[in-house]
Point group: C2
């Protein structure tokens, strides 16, 4: 088969803390094939890069494709990145340090490779294909174990000099707050992430105030996932509802401050908490944004839920790769 | 004299709450002439527009110039603006509502008119001619009676859909804080503006803890200006130093949060408090930013003082007007 614009394929890669996914898209960004693997195989960080290559190879095979069909690879990764050089400088959850992703994958697959922050890629995915198509200024906020943020401004991802930015999880919220993973106290992540909620909910379950959660997930913060929280609320654990709503309100206050800074046209909310409790959670966040943000901004603002779910990062990364190829040619 | 590129002049206008200033610049942005007036003449808001026209006319006359020499006018205004239409939607301090500045001045002077937010114009001035020349991402923060912010990103002012943004003064800081001018509680302006400091300092003076300030400015918050605060500290009012440093720290924490969002390459600090206490105040702000912002961002960040002083808004507005003309032609 002769390579032409008719058989161009993009590969989007979502490098997550627990799983990785390679998705092959045709030129119109329809999904052709995909392949998932666990990120960690027990062999430590050395195994991660070979597993990325393996997952891409298998996704290509699943689509009956070869290296030569690939126009570009886009990869969404967590951690601190050097975007231009395509290096993962540090990703503690993956055990990666100074991994030259772009260089290695370019060598293996012989096509352009773009490395992006995973939340940026997800936000860009929603901008191109999801809830925020064509929006002038789109703020993506993804509360999960941490709280990620990304922004597309006038068609392009907003970025730092070397790496990504929009670390909304590390907005200061409480002068004498809890200890954050970043070493500071009172960051938004300590009051409104899934982990913050889980730790508060776990204590309530331990005290006997959330019998359904106790039965569903116990008191281990690792086990108290968004789905368990949603189920406990449905089953009647009022204290869990109170905890979740209070954290949603804090998230809304923080987003309201960001709206006062950036005046986005749309905030798209995604991630585990949003997916598990779209009505309850988003209603609280929306109300708090409206209360905190200045009137001229809220008048023009839409607050919506993400549409692409688990595909957002891979789709966004593939689209960023396609955009890169378009700009280079 | 025949109009040519050799005799093009730009006019920059700073529309302030207490004074207005028109400055004529030659094509290389050297100051040719300027003229100041008080903004209010006791005749209410109806007098403001004629006085703007009058001030521009007088500045032209002072430079021995006529309307025909003017290539464009740039005007920096406070309040809520419609940037594209050049309308001051609402500026409570000036008593203006729905004033079509662009239309009126275009009619009077027969040249293009650009209306910008005053803090944006000041930030753009520092970007073009001052402390932040050519910086990829420049955040301007101007603590005064309120706290204004502006950002130049990749050569252009960052803006909202209709108006300006970067309302850093309305970042949420204290869950049960003081009442803000915007109607909310605990905004940054309630802890770190000149007015917030003055109200705290005034109470301290009333209690007899700041004898020098009491002598210099009394206990009236309107009279406790940045200069008086600086003099009182110099004279030995330790409690005033404590109040100022504490508020500078709060400003730094808020800027640190913004750094975590936007990863600017430089923060330029200007306004009354900075000018009155450049060493003491900026040192505290800088230290707090460093503590609050994430390490990969602070490593690349410079925190500096503004260079243009009172000329920043007029210079920036004139440069924005020139940029507009360049893009249109």
């Amino acid at each position: 088969m002769k390579a032409s614009s008719k058989n161009r394929y993009w590969l989007g890669f979502d490098l997550g803390g627990t799983k990785m996914m390679a998705t092959v898209f045709d030129k119109d960004f329809n999904i052709v094939a995909y392949r998932r693997k666990k990120t960690k195989d027990g062999k430590g960080s050395k195994g991660v890069l070979p597993r990325i290559v393996e997952t891409i190879e298998e996704a290509l095979q699943a689509g009956h494709l070869d290296h030569k069909h690939l126009s570009a690879i886009g990869i969404g990764s967590p951690g601190w990145l050097d975007l231009d050089r395509g290096v993962v400088l540090l990703a503690p959850n993956l055990g990666l340090r100074n991994v030259p992703l772009k260089k290695e994958l370019t060598k293996d697959f012989g096509c352009p490779v773009v490395v992006a922050n995973d939340v940026d890629a997800g936000t860009y995915g929603e901008y191109r294909f999801g809830a925020g198509q064509g929006v002038r200024c789109l703020l993506g906020v993804f509360p999960g174990t941490g709280i990620g943020g990304g922004m597309v401004y006038e068609g392009k991802l907003f970025r730092g000099r070397i790496g990504s930015c929009m670390e909304i999880g590390h907005i200061h919220m409480q002068p004498k707050g809890r200890l954050c993973g970043c070493g500071r106290r009172g960051c938004l992540e300590t009051v409104a992430s899934r982990l913050a909620i889980a730790s508060e909910a776990g204590a309530a379950a331990y005290r006997g105030e959330a019998p359904h959660l106790l039965e569903l997930a116990g008191t281990d913060v690792a086990a108290i996932r968004s789905g368990a929280l949603a189920s406990a609320i449905k089953a009647g654990d009022h204290v869990i509802e109170e905890i979740v709503c209070h954290s949603a309100k804090d998230l809304g206050i923080a987003i309201g401050s960001v709206v006062n800074l950036l005046a986005p046209d749309m905030v798209v909310l995604g991630g585990g908490l949003v997916e598990a409790m779209p009505a309850l959670y988003v209603k609280e966040v929306r109300a708090a944004i409206k209360k905190q943000a200045l009137r001229p901004y809220t008048k023009l603002l839409k607050v919506v839920t993400a549409k692409l779910g688990d595909d957002a990062v891979a789709m966004g990364a593939a689209a960023l790769a396609a955009e890169h190829v378009r700009n280079e040619s």
